[in-house]
């Protein structure tokens, strides 16, 4: 490796570190103040890029100069900041007291809505922005050509860091932001106007995201897919740096920028994996990131909000379950082929969502990467059939084993962590699996996936496959339900309520959580295997972030306080999707708005809302 090549890669790494830092600093400030993991941060970045593309041409037509370009960047950033401000005032303000998972879900609803709006306004195709006047050429440094725009980017990183530092340390607003990041309750107790503070944080965060997006337009075209792509990068930077720490984000961005620059040169195929391995490594040594602090211990004695209360099943409940199963058994006699296909999918998602409820609701292990195990199951089944010549039956046995094995490997690292860091590591792990599926083309078929994964001959008929799915899903859900009410399920719930108390009565919290992770992984992978055979093909979208969010949404839309909520949520979300799909582009918007509406109107979810209504009526009847 020559010196000039090393220098070129180093500068390239610095330029990408600058861009990463600018976006991630906004995310980390918003998290620090509001404690909301803002999935819509990537959408704000995308909006910044589109604003810049739109604004830049007329501005440069006025005067083709660098200051005009700079003005375009700043206006785009300010506009994005205003969007962030509106998001806070209209939506987030209403959910600060809601469980964290619901806050997260509402920001994901926004991701869907904004993505749809962008496609509507700017079209589905990529838009290339103008290049910066005066920075079009390249400069020769130590014998290698470095684009002058890269040098401009390298300068912007420290500049933005300096400005953010000044805002945080020299203004009253900044001091409050830092205080709130350390101890939000204390800041509230001191009588600080919190809504103003939160609105300001969202404006600042949005403006930084927008600025980051606008800066990219001379290098990369604006596209409706850029939101999720940057989101993962920004998450990784904030987690490695420590959530809420701006200097941490800077440090992490520098490390990842260099890792990407040199990783591409050394191991071209493994950069994605490399980044997430780094993240896992950092979190093992420092569970709160490089410069992060542990969350202040909450001293309140209360049921963890939004977590499952488990009641022994009543005869009425068994009767209801019996009726539902009976209805599902006669369904193929009444429904057409299309409805049978939908029903198969609902049954599969119900099993996967129930496994997630087992893990999150009962175990308190919040997984953002549930799709990984669904995908592992689907790929294990598909590869077993196509590459190893297995039959369907053997493949369906292999799927849960693969899921459990995957969960065991990742779970060892995951269950050591707490709260948001745990959730973020599950997301990172899912992205590793996704990267492997996309990049290991010889085995997985890359983006095209695997086709021709068909069931065994006896199960080919749609009705037969429906009954197979029904049998497997109902059995799986029943077994998970038994486990919830067995000592293991109790112990898992105990560890969720108070890990300190659980440890002090001899429970091995780590092992309990690991086993729960493996069981949920196995059940989800079994669902993934069933899904592969029902579709006949597999592709990496099964493992992607939106699929993971779908599972979370099923759980929360159905209601997490009742264990049956996941089942209702799986049915509701999938039916909504099927109904909204013919609307073309609109389906994302419909789905996003529905998610937002449910979080705002009935935060307990469908089953929780119904349970509340029933209770209220019962009370009214007894009092009258």
């Amino acid at each position: 490796m020559s010196l000039s090549f090393m220098i070129a890669q180093f500068l390239n790494g610095l330029a990408s570190a600058s861009s990463l830092f600018i976006v991630a600093s906004g995310l980390t400030i918003v998290f620090g103040v509001t404690r909301i993991v803002n999935f819509a941060h990537g959408s704000l970045y995308m909006l910044g890029a589109y604003f810049a593309v739109t604004l830049m041409q007329p501005l440069l037509d006025l005067s083709r100069s660098f200051p005009m370009f700079l003005l375009g960047l700043l206006v785009a950033a300010a506009l994005t900041g205003l969007v962030g401000l509106c998001i806070e005032v209209v939506l987030l303000r209403r959910v600060y007291r809601a469980p964290e998972l619901l806050q997260l879900l509402i920001t994901f609803g926004l991701v869907l809505v904004i993505e749809d709006l962008v496609v509507r306004i700017w079209g589905p195709l990529e838009l290339l922005g103008p290049r910066a006047p005066g920075l079009r050429g390249a400069i020769t440094i130590a014998g290698s050509q470095v684009p002058s725009y890269d040098l401009f980017l390298i300068a912007m990183g420290p500049l933005v860091f300096g400005l953010v530092w000044l805002v945080l340390h020299r203004t009253r607003f900044g001091i409050l932001v830092r205080a709130a990041t350390q101890d939000r309750d204390m800041v509230a107790a001191l009588g600080v106007n919190q809504s103003l503070l939160f609105t300001g944080a969202l404006f600042l965060g949005g403006a930084l995201a927008g600025f980051g997006g606008a800066l990219q337009i001379p290098r990369a075209a604006a596209s409706p897919q850029m939101d999720i792509a940057i989101l993962t990068d920004a998450f990784v930077v904030t987690v490695i740096g420590g959530m809420g720490s701006v200097p941490g984000a800077a440090l992490a961005a520098l490390i990842i920028g260099q890792l990407n620059a040199f990783g591409i040169a050394l191991l071209p195929k493994s950069t994605l994996v490399l980044v997430f391995v780094l993240m896992a490594g950092v979190l093992i040594v420092r569970p709160y990131g490089l410069l992060g602090r542990p969350e202040p211990l909450s001293l309140r004695v209360a049921v963890p909000e939004g977590f499952t209360r488990l009641m022994p099943p009543t005869p009425a409940l068994w009767l209801m379950c019996g009726l539902v199963v009976a209805a599902l058994v006669v369904l193929p006699l009444l429904a057409d082929a299309y409805s049978q296909k939908i029903a198969i999918e609902v049954l599969i998602f119900a099993l996967a969502a129930f496994a997630l409820a087992f893990l999150i609701g009962n175990g308190g292990v919040v997984s953002f990467g549930h799709a990984a195990y669904f995908g592992i199951g689907a790929y294990a089944a598909g590869l077993a059939v196509k590459r190893l010549g297995f039959g369907m039956e053997a493949a369906l046995l292999l799927a849960p084993l693969a899921g459990a094995a995957g969960a065991a490997v990742f779970g060892v690292f995951v269950v050591r962590l707490q709260g948001i860091y745990l959730a973020m590591l599950t997301l990172a792990v899912a992205q590793i699996v996704y990267a492997v599926a996309v990049q290991w083309i010889e085995v997985t078929g890359g983006d095209n996936g695997i086709v021709g994964v068909w069931p065994a001959r006896w199960a080919e008929g749609r009705v037969t496959y429906y009954y197979l799915t029904l049998g497997v899903s109902v059995t799986g859900i029943f077994v998970l339900h038994r486990m919830l009410h067995a000592p293991f399920g109790y112990a898992l719930r105990a560890a969720r309520d108070s890990a300190v108390r659980a440890d002090a009565i001899g429970l091995d919290v780590g092992r309990l959580r690991l086993l729960a992770f493996m069981i949920a992984g196995a059940a989800t992978a079994l669902a993934g295997g069933l899904y592969a055979f029902s579709k006949g093909s597999i592709d990496p979208t099964l493992l992607a972030i939106p699929q993971s969010v779908d599972f979370l949404a099923m759980l929360l839309i159905g209601g997490i306080q009742q264990i049956g909520g996941a089942l209702a949520g799986a049915a509701a979300l999938h039916l909504l999707r099927v109904w909204a799909l013919p609307l073309g582009d609109m389906w994302r918007m419909v789905l996003g708005l529905t998610i937002i509406a449910i979080v705002l109107v009935s935060p307990q979810g469908i089953v929780g809302g119904v349970a509340q209504l029933v209770q209220r009526q019962r009370r009214a009847r007894t009092s009258s």
Partner: protein
Amino acid sequence: MTLLVVKNLHKAFGGVAAARDISFEVERGELVALIGPNGAGKSTTFNIVGGQLAPDRGAVELDGVSIVHKPPRAIWRLGVGRTFQIAQTFVSMTATENVQMALQSAATATFGLWRSAHALKRDEAVALLDLVGLADSRDRSVGTLAYGDIKRVELAIALAGAPKLLLMDEPTAGMARGERGKLMQLIVSLARQRGVGVLFTEHDMDAVFAHASRVLVLVRGEIVARGTPAEVQADPLVRRMYLGTYVGARTAGGDGAGGGA
């Protein structure tokens, strides 16, 4: 053999020494009180004995077995039950379920995946709740109980492992005056009958001097006095450093009452 031996314990947080050279012993059947102002290092000492914290130096032996650097779950299995300064219970469960959980753990049944846990060890759990005076509230969710009652649930949980040593961090916090005496009386009789050693902290000095067999006075991480309640009350250093306000207030109160009579 002495039940608990703590030798030369030292623990610092950053530059602040929370425990300096702490040594004491607890015998079977006796109640040893650890008193001292806020921040004296009482909870630090408790957390080291319970395994929640690792000391920088020093030894902790239970029945001659070193338990220092063992995780809390292992220390529990060796016979140490504890309550926490801020009660730690399973708030989504009923009082009975909380105690059942501890009993099931004692019976190493917690990795059972099939048999229902609802009835498992229920009768024993109910008996323990009766013992601590919570028979009436046993089917209520712990999240809805008064703090004093949550402390009772914690005591029942701690007793579920049939401990040799009971660590109780402010066992009567949140209880009315009369209840405190009754609960301390219960602990004394449990200690005597079952030969359990008890190490406890308490802010209620009446409870300490009425029920403790021995008292250790901790100030800024150091044991500055030790002895029977009478000896400690008489210690001039203790009177000046710590009890001064207490004894003074009490005498003043007594005088006032005397004047009124």
